[in-house]
Amino acid sequence: MSESNNEGKVFDPFEVWRGMRNAGMDAWAKTMTEAVNTDEYAKASGALLDAYLTASIPLRELLEKAMSQALRQMNMPTRDDVISLAERMTQVEMRLDDMDAKLDGLSRQPSESAHAEASAAEPLHAEALPAEPPHAEPLHAEPPPAELLQEKPPQVGPPPVEPPRVEPSPEKPPTRKATRKEAKEQ
């Protein structure tokens, strides 16, 4: 039986190579870091990128044009159509976000007064229902930004409809028919 190593250490065939590698690595790294921070490198990498873009852009435009035409022929939305829709969605989301903030403010006021009346009652989930300020903070400080004033988006959804007033029957005004009947009796 032979001993694997006099010191109990297994021979690692890569150790020599690793030592050489570590010795050169730092110097190499330093040289390269300095090299990329030069105008020559910036010029060379810029030229490479420019060559790639010069070759790619016309091809890309051609492909896009052909694809758009083909999709239109098939009555299908093009990339531009989808992008346009997505942009409009974001605008709608922003309006919804403003409405949400206003609703937050409205819903908080009654809950605060109720909380004041029954201050002894603790919320079931304190973490899930954090305390909220009494009013929604406006997003834009007064006055609102000029662009919001300039491009007022179309109103989303139907205009608000006032609920019909329901009043007790004794105070109900006479209908047109009743008035005629009364007039006839008189």
Binding site: M1, S2, E3, S4, N5, N6, V10, F11, R18, R21, M25, W28, A29, M32, T33, V36, N37, T38, D39, Y41, A42, K43, S45, G46, A47, L49, D50, L53, T54, S56, I57, R60, R79, V82, I83, S84, A86, E87, T90, E93, M94, D97, A101, D104, A126, E127, P130, A131, E132, P133, A136, E137, L139, H140, A141, P145, A146, E147
Partner: protein
């Protein structure tokens, strides 16, 4: 047992076999680390707001409400990387640490911009998305004041917000490795690369719309090519028998390879307004028709600088201190790299405790002190 002839000090066949098996196991481990994603961002959180691709998360507090700091903390990371670097993995998570210290922590996730977002600019992110998220944060937390931590490009956004909206309740501003001053071009490698003689930003954006995450990642890696393209993998192979290092490497690699594109409008502003013309520090940057004047910043300010940062050299971050109106300001210089100061092995010993101590003294009910 027979010894293998030719090997120094003798080497038995059994030992050779064991070594071979070990090597095979190491290769399998390396393959797994290089081809799979680590479990990251484990701290429990809830989504409280979303707009377009942006999301605002609130981390579930673990400290009772009466012991918590009343001033919430909003974390804003860069636009071109995922923000979960702040919550990388259990035991090595800044978010987890701050939550355990009694902060009400919120995280802004900008998401990944699509082709429809190619025209988004700093103006939109800092003055539309961020204020809306802050409005929600205030609504959910019930606080009127808040602290904000901006890191990398996130520090540009938070600086912009703090300068344009100084009266919106921002009490504490923390800037980490903030690329704000572009005057010393010879020290900033990106300034060389984006020089108008060599780099046509309009041509790039005409091709891609948004700046692809892969190109940004490649650019960042090229700043230190040997370390990033070679040294990083050598470190993994050298330490494959150390589970702690492998786990850490796996999590970091998951994050590094999960880049997102940068909105075209932001990239254009970054190159033209900042890298080329240094408009923020010159006081000539106009966003939404308003000049950005950093002297309007009055929030308490902590600037954290990474001494070995090659992406944002210290000269880019340290000059803001002299320009703001904040009475309470501190410059904290720490050894480490751009990401390492917050997600490296020393972060939990050095950076996080300092941020906690600074914020703890400024997150009380009356402006200073603790609860």
């Amino acid at each position: 047992m027979t010894s293998v002839s030719g090997w120094p000090n003798g080497f038995s066949a059994d030992e050779f076999e064991a070594e071979f098996a070990k090597g095979e196991d190491r290769l399998r481990r390396a393959g797994k680390v290089l081809t799979t994603k680590a479990l990251i961002a484990q701290t429990p959180k809830e989504l409280i707001w979303a707009l377009n691709k942006s999301k605002l998360y609130r981390y579930i507090p673990v400290v009772p409400k009466e012991k918590r700091h009343p001033v919430p903390l909003l974390l804003v990371f860069a636009l071109m990387n995922r923000p979960y670097i702040l919550d990388l993995r259990p035991g090595n998570s800044f978010v987890e640490f701050m939550v355990s210290q009694g902060y009400d922590v919120y995280l802004m996730d900008w998401g990944s911009p699509g082709p429809e977002d190619r025209n988004l600019k700093f103006d939109d992110y800092a003055l539309d998305y961020l204020p809306r998220a802050i409005r929600k944060l205030k609504s959910v937390s019930g606080a009127t004041e808040f602290s904000m931590l901006g890191w990398c490009i996130g520090a540009i956004l938070t600086t912009l917000y703090a300068a344009v909206r100084p009266d919106d309740g921002l009490r504490n501003l923390l800037l980490l490795t903030a690329p704000l001053d572009y005057s010393k071009k010879e020290s900033i490698t990106f300034s060389h690369w984006t020089d108008e003689r060599y780099f046509d930003v309009e041509k790039v954006l005409a091709m891609f719309g948004n700046m692809p995450g892969e190109m940004l990642d490649y650019g960042a890696k090229c700043l230190k090519p040997v370390e990033n393209f070679l040294g990083n993998y050598i470190r993994l192979f050298d330490n494959l028998d150390n589970p702690k290092i492998v786990e850490s490497w796996h999590a970091m690699n998951t994050w590094v390879t999960d880049g997102v594109p940068l909105a075209g409008g932001v990239f254009r502003q970054l190159v033209v307004d900042l890298y080329r013309n240094n408009r923020l520090m010159n006081g000539t940057w106009v966003v939404r028709g308003e000049r950005v004047d950093v002297s309007r910043i009055k929030a308490n300010l902590l600037t954290v600088i990474a001494a070995n940062d090659h992406i944002t050299p210290p000269c880019q971050a340290e000059t803001l201190q002299d320009k703001v109106s904040s009475k309470d300001k501190e410059l904290f210089r720490i050894r480490g790299g751009h990401i390492g100061i917050m997600a490296g092995s020393d972060a939990a010993r050095n950076t996080w405790p300092h941020i906690n101590a600074w914020l703890d003294a400024r997150s009380g009910r009356e402006g200073t002190g603790t609860l």
